[in-house]
Symmetry: C2
Subunit: 585 residues, 2 copies
């Protein structure tokens, strides 16, 4: 059977084991052809080809429900569930997202992109099924890397108490994105070594029945195991040992590098468009290594994404015990950092904007209330970064800046970033978050301050009158661009770099009233709960007109940068036109 | 030795075992005398008298560090660490908080009030100690109930990888606030039954060395165990089995009721000032039981605090499988609710304002992005509720209303609450959060709408002109009061019940421009990121003056309601004066 003939899992349920093996080869080859041209998650999908085929072979999907954790390993699942064209036809490559998506298919239960959620979501489905007295299998598939997340533990702990069908497949490929961290992984290793017969079994302590499958890339062995648990009347874990990157040598040999890749040459594994340009990950790693050398108390924390913050395996080795990967466990990273600071260390947690969402309570309770000088570096907090709906970097301003005590800084260029980071790591008075600028990396042509302890002092970049444009972080350049347009029209706008997202410069805002009629705020994120609203509230009782620019409160998936900026009036010509209209009123 | 002579733990380290036993009796008696007159956490402290004495006897505090989880069990600790007067002298009862507090004592490491944080915080201290090459013991004390929280798991999982001294004391009293829920508790039961020799051991699977102490209220046995682990060079768990409420019969027999108590008669256990007045917990439970009866898909979730939402043991029994306690695991409650809704059930999660902070990411990723019709009821989201710094109900408006997709409703009275809750549970289009009103419970004297599907339609309660006062939720009464004052001064203010915290009624706000010069917003929470700022931003480019009232961004601990309202200009006379000044400008 040609892959193009597979319109649903029913088509593969008639196949023999040998045919299934051939199918796996075909799927793997087709996947590699697309992914090498298109980019995407490589290793997670290659490792799960056989398990995906076995799942759809054994279970009666979509009546039976499968929830995939993170869902970055569902490319093969998509190929088997009516979406094969998006893998065969280059013109249709972008018809599917890189994650499960109920808008695409009834085989996809949830839009998922964060880790450690599947067991909880699937547990909820099982509970809902039981309340309504229905019958079907509920399966959660979760990777070993995701087990370090607190939500996964909470899901497992509760799922075990379901008095009914609940199947958790633990896809153990001995890797998170990088190597695993956490005591639990010792137990997984012991379970692998003993083929499931270790003296202490994590899953059994939580109350699960347990099956071990050592040959997680053997479709026949997987089918046997899944058949054993299908229609079970109680919670069971099937622990399968798979090979991340299976079937593509470079990905088998360099698992971390091949977790995700830009387009590459299939023969050599070399990137088609290698990008050696300067970036903040390298700048961060370089700076922090220097600080570590100068002060043994300095340490960098990551929650399972060392690559995002520039710490390659080589640099991690160099940093030694001053580099701490807590696994995918953002709550732990923040709370642990608070403890480190309390003990006199100088911790910096580098984290993606959308992942710090996991630790709101810890930012507030474990850090802010205790005023421990924890430093956060927020990566990808920008409209111009990750554009999958689950990875939007739009919400961190509202998340962090409204917690009392946190100083949230928005550098606009490399030099200002470094100055702020050095101050943040040096001072002991506040928890400080720094929002790494998005968009095109730029260097400053002016000197930057080295001391930020005089909180909430904005900086006038360009003196003017009538209208002041406050451009926060990466949007300072947009403010300057807008002012340049206005100047051509005879309006000499003031341009301000606010630097602090977490507070208002009352004195400067009051002074602007002397000779300004309007203040414009530009922020690289969502408007609701953000920076501009603080300015609008401050000027609320006055005659000053205020226009806030940023994103409307709405989720967007895989958006185009240009379109979203235009739709939200985030281009200099639009803002300049709006200002003219505002002043004419 | 008299208790009053104990100024630090050094004073008890010279005592014999018999003297320590007498000390425990004295501490328990003194504790009960204060707590019966003052109110506070009863059971957790009674159960931990011997362990607290043994800890300070064995460890060299404050050089050795002890981090207490939740820290509601630290009254005895306070008595031994220089704060005995606050337990002996009724005039000084309020000199200490109910939680650890570094402002009170160097023996208190952190201000803590949320659960499941101690292992992470202590792990951070141990890591900081190691980075700086220092030597001391680090001890985390965590209750069995707290182990259900994801942060506790993340802390244990990482703490196990410390290659140095790290001691986790698991205080197993077989209770959370109510009974425990989760598969893990089966393992704890097995460990108790086998005196630590169960075939599978949760703590060992994470990599800990392990000691079991069955006699957790025997000071001698505890001293022996703590001596064994003192100065250990690796992570170890000491699992102690204690009796919650030990030494006070009513608290031993009714553990849930006696977790925390208002002042009571020591002889009978009866409350001194029983309060049988109408409250939202009972109203919620009553309503939801009716809904459960009418629809088997309706269910109520709690994260370990059934009492807060009115579900007594008796009502839980009545609700049967339609009542779900996930243990202290807010992330799970939210994600599981999303799964239940996906499967066709109708889940409602009732939760304290400050505890929903644990689940920001789940509200966004697991619910909002998936648009599952999950219903939240937020309890104690008010300035006029819990006033410990760790339990402030001020932040939920900023937390929830800025996530795309969530409809956040603010009822102003019982009838409006019930109408909103019935609509929320009936509709299938949105996730809906409802903020239970704070302050004095009130009934409406007007009819309320039954359908809230026309989003963001505010309601004019009183027609007027010149100034409009928008009073959200429990602050509608403040708006009305202010308008009454203004009316005496000849200003007929418009009063608006916005009902929706998550959106702006553009049409109504535009219409107000006709004959209003100013709009005032009143919200029962923090201003930053809140409701008023949305109104200020909307009117930013116009001539409308906007004044936002709510709390300044600042943590407060054990504040006085009247003082905080006055300090933030949240009284009708102050607001009315401000309005006069604003209109005069």
């Amino acid at each position: 059977m040609q892959l193009s003939e597979i319109s649903s899992p029913a088509d593969i349920r008639k196949m023999s084991i040998d045919q299934l093996k051939t199918l796996c080869d075909d799927l793997r080859r087709t996947f590699l052809t697309k992914i090498s041209a298109h980019g995407g998650h490589v290793g997670p999908n290659l490792g799960l080809v056989e398990a995906t085929v076995a799942l759809h072979y054994v279970f009666d999907t979509p009546k039976d429900k499968i929830v995939f954790d993170v869902s970055h390993q569902t490319y093969i699942h998509k190929m088997l569930t009516g979406r094969i064209e998006a893998f065969l036809d280059p013109d249709k490559y972008d018809d599917v997202t890189g994650y499960t998506n109920p808008h695409e298919s009834p085989y996809d239960l949830f839009t998922i992109g964060h880790t450690s959620t599947a067991v909880s979501l699937a547990g909820g489905i099982a509970k809902g099924r039981d309340l309504l007295n229905q019958k079907y299998n509920v399966v959660a598939l979760v990777g070993d890397g995701s087990l370090s997340g607190g939500e996964a533990f909470e899901g497992l702990d509760n799922g075990a108490t379901l008095d009914s069908n609940f199947i958790v497949i633990v896809n153990d490929n001995e890797m998170s994105i990088a190597e695993n961290h956490g005591g639990l992984y010792g137990n997984l290793a012991e379970l692998r070594k003993t083929r499931g017969n270790a003296p202490d079994n994590y899953f059994k302590t939580l109350g699960y029945d347990y099956i071990y499958v050592g040959e997680g890339n053997n479709v026949e062995a997987l089918i046997d195991a899944f058949r054993k648990v299908k229609d079970t009347d109680h919670p069971v874990v099937v622990h399968i040992h798979t090979d991340k990157g299976k079937g593509y040598k470079p990905a088998e040999e360099h698992k971390e590098q091949w977790h995700w890749s830009m387009p590459f040459d299939l023969a050599t594994g070399n990137l088609l468009h290698p990008d050696a340009s300067e970036n903040y990950a390298d700048i961060f790693a370089d700076e922090m290594l220097k600080q570590m050398k100068a002060n043994p108390g300095v340490c960098v924390l990551t929650a399972g994404t060392p690559g995002v913050i520039g710490f390659t395996p080589e640099l991690r080795k160099k940093a030694g015990k001053q580099f701490i990967d807590v696994g995918i466990a953002e709550q732990e990273a923040v709370a642990m950092a608070s403890g480190i600071a309390k003990a006199g260390g100088r911790p910096c947690f580098g984290v993606n904007s959308s992942f710090i969402q996991r630790a709101y309570d810890q930012l507030s309770q474990d850090v802010a209330i205790n005023n421990t000088p924890v430093v956060l570096n927020i990566f990808y907090g920008t409209i111009l970064g990750l554009n999958d709906v689950t990875h939007l970097g739009w919400f961190d301003i509202a998340l962090i800046s409204n917690i009392p005590g946190w100083v949230f800084l928005a550098p606009t260029c490399v030099e200002e970033y470094l100055a702020m980071q050095r101050w943040a790591m040096r001072q002991q008075d506040y928890p400080v978050a720094i929002r790494i600028p998005g968009g095109k990396l730029c260097h400053c042509d002016t000197t930057v301050d080295t001391d930020y302890s005089n909180l909430n002092k904005y900086k006038i970049v360009k003196e003017g009158d009538t209208v002041a444009i406050i451009g926060a972080g990466s949007f300072l350049s947009l403010a300057i661009e807008t002012a340049t347009l206005l100047e051509k029209l005879g309006i000499k706008a003031t341009v301000i770099n606010p630097r602090y997202l977490s507070g208002v410069d009352n004195a400067m805002l009051d002074d602007l009233k002397r000779n300004h009629k309007a203040v414009i705020t530009l922020e690289d994120g969502i408007l609701d709960g953000g920076f501009g609203e603080k300015i609008a509230r401050y000027y609320g009782p006055t005659d000053m007109k205020v226009g806030c620019y940023g994103l409307k409160k709405k989720f967007e998936d895989r958006y185009d940068y240009t379109s979203i900026l235009e739709a939200n009036h985030l281009t200099a010509p639009q803002i300049s036109d709006d200002i003219l209209a505002l002043l004419a009123n």
